[in-house]
Symmetry: C2
Subunit: 139 residues, 2 copies
Amino acid sequence: MYESDPGDISRPRRRCCQAADGTQRQLGRGRGALLEPALLIALARSEAHGYDLVRAIEEMTGGDVVPDTGGLYRLLRRLEVEGVVTSSWQESGAGPQRREYRLTDEGRALLAHWMEHLAVRRDALDRLIRAGMEQVPHA
Amino acid sequence: MYESDPGDISRPRRRCCQAADGTQRQLGRGRGALLEPALLIALARSEAHGYDLVRAIEEMTGGDVVPDTGGLYRLLRRLEVEGVVTSSWQESGAGPQRREYRLTDEGRALLAHWMEHLAVRRDALDRLIRAGMEQVPHA
DNA sequence: TCACATATATGTCTTATACATATAGTGTCC
DNA sequence: GGACACTATATGTATAAGACATATATGTGA
């Protein structure tokens, strides 16, 4: 499947525009595809646990992206398997246990790649909106 | 499922933010979700057949959205079932048969609704990009 | 004790998308 | 005339991202 460099034992570095099997994704991966980059940006600011990330992402997007908690935790597990984040249980006494996530170097590289894609997507979206405005009686 | 107005015999008007069964969609429906609005915008300009739409959408988005032809034709059929577009075979002699699509009034209303959502999505995307730029060493 | 917030997690269904493939007509180049 | 490319529409199928429901446990305040 992968024509990996023989000197490179590690998995090929995943890109946001391709799935695990190497298949291409159009404008970044998946649907609105704002959840993964939003999560990476939030984690780049500071390590956090899942429940915090939900609110950080809401705040960052002006309330427009409200992550499904189930999906968020699943995403975090997947990102950990992929080496994008690491996690550890916090020892702190009070309240339910928390798993704290940290971005790895690979995670930062993935975020940088995401940013390029988000810029492309914004350009496409801008062009589309401009084209649409010509057709719709302006509100 | 639907608490439809007894005086309203027609299907409830579909919105881009909800699926056929009324379940909500986050930022417009489905994934990058640029295909449906791009298609509606292209059809608002002028009636067209599917193959033309592929290129119109590519051109409109600066080449960033390259529709899958299979998906495009399926989308057109679905939109026709929903009353968003109508179609008719063209009688013209030369070449393979073409099915020409036209936007209905309901289609124009759907497009107007889409435009609001695209604006919201652009705002969310802008906020996200700004937040991300603070974390990523600018290229 | 009951409700509520915090915190993590699984189950499951739907559906857009990505890719492959099938079909048929038309033109052209050798 | 056969190979090939382009136009044009369409189906088959696998994947993975949501969207929603639900389960669990801990702590707090009424």
